[in-house]
């Protein structure tokens, strides 16, 4: 790309943290050749290839499906592969690691707490009556698939956690993506583990900690609507509680 005849340049201000050299993050500015068809990730790759090979960030697919390249761009969590520089008004463009996460190096944040949260919502089909394998798969109609298709679109990019002030305040909060994933299995007609799953998420640091700021759904690149998912889980959990109180002997 360096060989392209171009006169335009762009300035980026990037949040950096080099744990082996310093105790504090800092900002570094880079000026590089610019074209209108560049996304933020292209600019980061240009810096790494031509200016500073130590710049560290995650990326993989470049097409908004792997969920690796999230960063705070001008203060908003975005997928850097899906954001054109021409659509950003401010100069220099400010690129920082995702908010609310511990920084490991430059734009790379610690995703391990997030992975543990995903696991904790029991994101798998739980059966009371396991069918023998000879009887084939558990079938669903297209309408039954439609019930949870939206929540199943999550790519675990963690933009919703970076946008969530509740998570910024309390790191124990299960958070938007993990709870949307819980609803995905709650709505699955093959699943019979609702009681167990709701017990895991209808807790102080689960659905009840959400105050419905709604920003998770605004930044979600896959229209998963985690904010809506959590409110639906609240209704399901409240219904279950009321039924248990009013009809203590009824099967659940």
């Amino acid at each position: 790309m360096a060989e392209h005849a171009t006169t335009k340049t762009i300035k980026l201000r990037i949040g950096r943290y080099r744990p082996e050299r310093s105790d504090e993050p800092f900002y570094q500015e880079f000026t590089l050749p610019y074209r209108d068809d560049m996304v933020v990730l292209d600019a980061l790759n240009y810096i790494k290839d031509h200016i500073d090979p130590t710049l560290t960030y995650r990326w993989s697919c470049r097409m908004g499906i792997c969920g690796s390249c999230g960063a705070n761009v001008d203060g908003t969590p975005r997928l850097t592969c899906a954001l054109y520089l021409k659509d950003l008004k401010k100069r220099p463009v400010l690129i920082e690691p995702l908010e609310n996460f511990a920084i490991l190096k430059d734009l790379v944040v610690d995703i391990e707490p997030f992975m543990a949260k995903l696991e904790s919502v029991k994101p798998y089909i739980m059966r009371q009556d396991e069918r023998p394998i000879e009887r084939g798969e558990y079938r669903q109609t297209p309408e039954e698939l439609e019930l949870y298709r939206q929540q199943s679109q999550c790519i675990n990019c963690m933009l919703c956690y970076a946008a969530c002030p509740v998570y910024g305040h309390e790191e124990k909060f299960l958070g938007p993506a993990a709870l949307a994933l819980a609803l995905r299995y709650e709505m699955d007609t093959r699943d019979q583990g609702s009681a167990e799953r709701l017990a895991a998420i209808a807790t102080e640091h689960g659905i009840w900690q959400c105050t419905f700021v709604g920003e998770c759904s605004v930044v979600c690149p896959k229209n998963v609507d985690p904010a809506g998912a959590i409110q639906q889980l609240k209704v399901r959990a409240a219904n279950r509680l009321m039924k248990a109180m009013l009809l203590p002997l009824a099967p659940r």
């Binding site: 744990p19 082996e20 105790d23 490991l104 610690d110 105050t211 700021v213 639906q232 609240k234 209704v235």
Partner: protein
């Protein structure tokens, strides 16, 4: 296999002014604050009842205070917050599709519109009941 870690995670400090960075965070903070104004109004109404119980003179004194300029301003502010509280609550209802129309959740504008319409109808009914005969 045991691996040695050289990680030194850096945890950022959040400014108490975090909510000023995004207009939607500001709206959220105001929505949370609106609950306090709703409680304040409840106490004002209780105070009114307490004044009424004290007889004609005490209630008249209350009314003089109630119609004073600072109280009118306070009531206007409370009205603003309570309307914000109600509107944001109705906006939330669209997120929880309890009914399905032809297998699909109804569109958000329909849910919010229906809720707001019922809210206005009930409010008009209450006002009519209160002022009947005036």
């Amino acid at each position: 296999m045991a691996t040695e870690t050289v990680r030194k995670p850096y945890v950022r400090h959040r400014s108490p002014w975090w909510w000023t960075k995004n207009p939607r965070y500001v709206l959220f903070q105001f929505r949370e604050l609106s609950g306090a104004f709703a409680v304040l109004y409840a106490f004002l109404v209780l105070w009114q009842l307490w004044a009424l119980r004290g007889g004609e003179e005490s209630y008249y004194a209350f009314l003089v205070f109630w119609y004073s300029r600072p109280m009118m301003i306070l009531n206007a502010i409370i009205l603003g917050f309570v309307v914000l509280h109600a509107v944001t609550w109705f906006a939330l209802t669209a997120k929880v599709p309890l009914v399905r129309i032809r297998g699909r959740p109804p569109p958000a504008p329909l849910v919010i519109g229906a809720n707001v319409a019922i809210w206005i109808a009930v409010s008009v009914l209450i006002v009519k009941l209160l002022y009947r005969g005036f």
